[in-house]
Homo-oligomer: 142 residues x 2
Amino acid sequence: MLTIGALARKTGSKVQTIRYYEQIGLMPEPGRTEGGQRRYGDAELDRLSFIRHARQLGFRLEAIRELLNLSDQPDKPCQEADSIARRQLKQVEQRLARLEALRTELERMVHECSGGRTADCRVLEVLRDHSECLTDHNEIGA
Amino acid sequence: MLTIGALARKTGSKVQTIRYYEQIGLMPEPGRTEGGQRRYGDAELDRLSFIRHARQLGFRLEAIRELLNLSDQPDKPCQEADSIARRQLKQVEQRLARLEALRTELERMVHECSGGRTADCRVLEVLRDHSECLTDHNEIGA
DNA sequence: CTTGAACCTCCAGTAGCTTGAGGATGTAGG
DNA sequence: CCTACATCCTCAAGCTACTGGAGGTTCAAG
């Protein structure tokens, strides 16, 4: 039986985050000691690991909730899980493209700022001047 | 003279976002019509473009605030702007690395899910099983 | 039995907006 | 000049995914 702190250490989460997950119904209400402290078993460790891992992969909590529901019903076709992953992949690729453009621009900014005065500084120019923009002007994603 | 809606269209922002920026002091209070509607000139258009662009480059509003303060005092050395950009570049490179690992993992998930039942689905397996994780288990960054 | 780390609940705050209610303004067409 | 209606206004609350703190209790070691 694990305390909440031990569970946090094992999964790399924070204690408050676990309580938050419980609050929003992503983690179940665990057993308690006489004194009211939470105690966790292996099922909860697995579940939280799943959540942690999915979060690190960029899944939103709602998507994770869907995935957890799916994995509770193993006889359903997995199309749904697949499409969630596909959606995720698409978003990741968009973010990558934007970040790569951003890196290029920032590298240029840093290289061209050679320690002059602000008035000559490319860092500010690049941000001021739209025509030098290498990125497309779409939404900034979540 | 631009209405707030026209300014929004020109910069690709939303009307409410512009009002929000005004509220937090990132945009100045503009002139108003007799009836109380906001009217913007070129200075505001430039400033908002700057903000939009910087946001798309991943700068936080606080960093943007710093940059705007800098660009209001063009006689200062630009070291400060440079160091902001450098900080940003470092973060971007970290995010890129994480996202690339993520893409690999998601691609694997999507390719290996061959339309079976949920119980056989790699998407859920990969998320369940830590040993298959290709990403490092660090913080998910903002 | 004491000590101190770890636990508890509840509440507020964070970023960066977004949405909605309920009402006023501005402008184009008739 | 008047009407319609898109756009504007303010204010307030809501969103995601946590994080931090206050103030108090429990647990395990020594």
